[in-house]
């Protein structure tokens, strides 16, 4: 993979220089603090509004808080990669930067993989750190939760993020317009999210991993094989197809 190390370094630099790292970290951090905060004080807010929380059975648990945070990760997974990764190939293609890069002794595999791995790392690292912040806040303010269950519930969501980044990268390679790439990937991911609620057919949507994630938190040992397989297979197919497309593309 000629040039991979240099391109990887360049992508890290770019995500830093264009503030994408901070935007992604900021979004996750926001939800990691907001979720337990709301859960902790919602009862007080309701009381201040003259509503008795016990009438609604409002007794949030640590599991409820983490489930709520994981749901926010889905929201972030649909929109954040679409709007932050949409231009990584498309913009360079339309600017002509791809042409001047690929005319050098650099492989297309290295070009695509460096982009994917940098943005994957940014999403995974910031989501994991934020999730732990959320976990420790929850344990301190709301109640105890087994850390093993928490980590296990987080893993499917991280895989979902990896899937979403790969999907956006694919559309970014297909389109020369970054808006088209971002819009299409957000649309496809939202459609897959909706499909995940449909019985039977929804089983294959990677977004069904959220149900799996919820059940882990609630103590279930069951593994949702179908969405797991779909996510992993699609992820590899998307990356391989992006590389293949770039090989055939008129740059």
């Amino acid at each position: 993979m000629q040039g991979f190390k240099i391109l990887f370094k360049k992508e890290v630099w770019e995500s830093w220089a264009t503030n994408k790292i901070f935007i992604i970290a900021g979004i996750f951090l926001f939800f990691s603090i907001l979720t337990p905060f709301i859960m902790q004080y919602m009862g007080d807010f309701l009381e201040m509004s003259g509503i008795d929380p016990s009438e609604f059975g409002w007794e949030p648990t640590a599991a409820d808080t983490i489930i709520s945070f994981l749901d926010y990760i889905i929201l972030v997974a649909i929109f954040a990669p679409a709007f932050l990764v949409m231009g990584v190939v498309a913009k360079e293609l339309s600017d002509g930067i791809t042409a001047t890069t690929l005319v050098k002794p650099v492989g297309r595999l290295a070009y695509i993989l460096s982009k994917y791995l940098v943005y994957l790392s940014v999403f995974i690292i910031t989501a994991t750190i934020s999730a732990f912040i959320c976990y420790f806040y929850t344990v301190a303010a709301i109640g105890d939760l087994d850390i093993v269950d928490f980590v296990a519930s987080l893993l499917p969501m991280l895989l979902l993020l990896a899937f979403c980044v790969a999907l956006t990268l694919l559309f970014s390679t297909i389109f020369k317009s970054q808006m088209a790439a971002g819009g299409t990937s957000a649309g496809v991911m939202f459609a897959l999210y909706i499909i995940s609620f449909i019985p039977f057919i929804g089983e294959i949507s990677p977004f069904r991993m959220s149900t799996w994630s919820h059940s882990i938190i609630q103590g279930s040992q069951e593994v949702s094989v179908l969405p797991l397989i779909t996510a992993v297979v699609c992820l590899f197919v998307f990356i391989a197809y992006s590389i293949s497309l770039l090989k055939k593309k008129e740059i």
Partner: protein, 319 residues
């Protein structure tokens, strides 16, 4: 058959975009350490040809070779041999010129220190020393073109592809780039696509003219001028030569004659003759008989621009 002694070779190279043929059966042979000017109107297939030669586009027919290696294979070996300056170079706006060049050097496999040394050399060569630590987002178009040239040179390529390298430069910048090209011709093969014909005349050893995807001609500038030299005469008088026009047009050897103004706004009689000898003898006689005093009389050598206009079907600039 591919030849390893040629810097650039194409055999029946063609490119179709759906039903549209952008390039048809291109056969080129470019010797090492020469400057080849590639001319053609907009949309004639110049950029398509360059992209095929550097492996950014796949040919529909034929092959192209850089020192005998098929460029369609996109081997790392080929890419080490070439440098490319696109017509509108673009850069990472958050990088300085120096940082961008170091990145390019590292992509060629040089260590950071080597890449930085090379970057400074190319910044010096392209006159961008003072802007080395400025972000490329703040560069003017001319500066971007010079940075693009520096980036194309950073890997010390044997073959350099320059797509309209001086189009965005002011006269001084243009002159500087042409001087760089002159310096490089000793050690590199340069494939230069441009619209500025005077630049081609100045730096190119050989020229190819392409129109609607077809290579019309490919030969040395001097041979081209000889081949397309026509019996054209320029006559200047100490008065308006318009009264002579009818008589000259009436001569059997006259193909065309008209009065025009040259660059200094001086009225000049231009004559295109079918028979050079007769015209050469009779034109001064006619003028003298009518009482006109000749102040200048010459057989016009066609400029590259004339030939270009003639070959690409455009209206001739002088006639």
């Amino acid at each position: 058959m591919q030849r390893t002694d040629l810097a650039i070779q194409t055999i029946g190279l063609g490119k179709n975009f759906g039903a549209f043929t952008a390039l048809k059966d291109l056969n080129l042979q470019i010797e090492p350490n020469s400057v080849y000017g590639f001319l053609g109107p907009n949309g004639s297939g110049k950029t398509t040809t360059i992209k095929l030669l550097i492996g950014l586009s796949q040919p529909s027919t034929g092959h192209s070779y850089i020192y005998g290696v098929d460029s369609a294979d996109r081997s790392l070996q080929t890419r080490r041999l070439i440098g490319y300056l696109p017509d509108v170079p673009a850069f990472h706006k958050y990088m300085t010129g120096l940082q961008y060049l170091v990145l390019c050097g590292e992509l060629f496999g040089f260590s950071y220190d080597d890449a930085q040394k090379r970057a400074y050399e190319q910044l010096e060569r392209t006159g961008l020393n003072d802007a080395a630590n400025r972000k490329t987002g703040g560069y003017s178009r001319g500066m971007k073109q010079r940075l693009g040239l520096a980036a194309a040179l950073i890997g010390d390529p044997k073959v350099l592809f320059l797509d309209e390298p001086v189009s965005a430069l002011d006269p001084n910048g243009r002159l500087a780039v042409l001087e760089i090209i002159q310096d490089l011709r000793e050690s590199k093969t340069i494939f230069l696509s441009t619209h500025i014909l005077s630049d081609v005349e100045r730096v190119c050893d050989k020229v190819g003219i392409i129109s609607e995807g077809n290579l019309i001609v490919s030969q040395s500038v001097n041979d081209l001028k000889k081949q397309y030299a026509q019996n054209r005469f320029l006559l200047r008088f100490d008065q308006d030569p318009t009264p002579l026009l009818a008589q000259i047009q009436g001569q059997p050897w006259c193909v065309e004659a008209h009065v025009g103004k040259n660059e200094e706004e001086v009225l000049t009689l231009l004559v295109h003759a079918a028979d050079e000898t007769k015209a050469k003898n009779e034109l001064p006689q006619i003028a003298t008989q009518r009482g006109f005093t000749l102040t200048r009389y010459e057989i016009v050598q066609p400029s590259l621009e004339d030939i270009f206009m003639q070959l690409t079907g455009a209206k001739n600039a002088r006639f």
